[in-house]
């Protein structure tokens, strides 16, 4: 016989569960203007050659917004895919592996994208 409280203790969020939820909302709000800006900018780049694209990325405003977009987007993707995985994968080890792999991949893609933007904006070696 255990009281409902006794059963619940240790199973709750330990005051950390809100962080995931909150981060998902914050990145969502950030992504509203960033993604709308990105789509309109990319439509403007349709048919552009490489040099035009590189010049566009090299502009300070575009470079800054692209880096912000990449950070907010991959953070949001990582949180979102984690929820999807946790909903459908119920084998603990597989779930942990998939969530971990997703997080690492998101981190890697974000770094790759940011590096590409910065190398065009700052280096101009290519």
């Amino acid at each position: 016989m255990r009281s409902p409280l006794g059963r619940a203790i240790g199973l709750g969020s330990a005051k950390e569960g809100v962080e995931h939820w909150w981060a998902q909302r914050m990145t969502a709000i950030a992504l509203v203007p960033l993604s709308l800006w990105f789509v309109s900018a990319v439509i403007g780049l349709i048919g552009a050659d490489l040099e035009t694209v590189q010049n566009w990325v090299s502009q300070p405003l575009a470079a800054i917004l692209l880096v912000l977009l990449l950070i907010a987007m991959f953070y949001h993707v990582s949180l979102g895919l984690q929820v999807v995985i946790e909903d459908y994968v119920h084998t603990e080890l597989v779930k942990l592996g998939l969530v971990g792999a997703t997080r690492l991949l998101c981190f890697g893609f974000a770094v790759a994208g940011i590096f590409a933007v910065l190398s065009m904006a700052l280096g101009g070696s290519s």
């Binding site: 789509v39 993707v77 895919l81």
Partner: protein, 130 residues
């Protein structure tokens, strides 16, 4: 407590399709699709930073029929996920949670997605032909 003897809720297929559940499923589906789109964005940026040869590869892919199909699919997915995401934010604030509001909001999201997609496609195609 044994849960096996309890009545089970009917399987998903039993339910009649309704706007609320369809939009909910679509939110998740478009989210997963957009995650794949995010990788394409990185590919595009890395290729542009790498030089003409790499950029030609990504250009060829995006210009192919599958590339165009993916791009047009992603614009719908993005606008839907964005609009429905705003609907979720309204719910998070504790508003519009009654049945009538969820349907009004749902149809608003569908209409806004259609309008935004149409604007983007028209702008994109007119840019393409000019």
């Amino acid at each position: 407590m044994r849960s096996a003897d309890r009545p089970l809720s009917p399987h998903l297929q039993i339910y009649r399709w309704q706007l609320t559940s369809v939009l909910s499923i679509l939110h998740r589906a478009t989210g997963v699709m957009l995650s794949a789109g995010a990788i394409l964005l990185v590919w595009w940026l890395v290729a542009a930073a790498s030089g003409p040869e790499a950029y030609e590869g990504v250009e060829d892919f995006l210009g192919s029929w599958i590339g165009l199909l993916l791009l047009s699919g992603w614009t719908v997915a993005l606008f839907y996920h964005l609009c429905n995401g705003l609907r979720h934010l309204v719910w998070d604030s504790g508003h519009a949670l009654d049945l009538k509001s969820t349907y009004i909001g749902g149809w608003t999201v569908v209409a806004a997605t259609a309008v935004l997609t149409l604007i983007a496609w028209v702008a994109g195609v007119s840019r393409w032909v000019s």
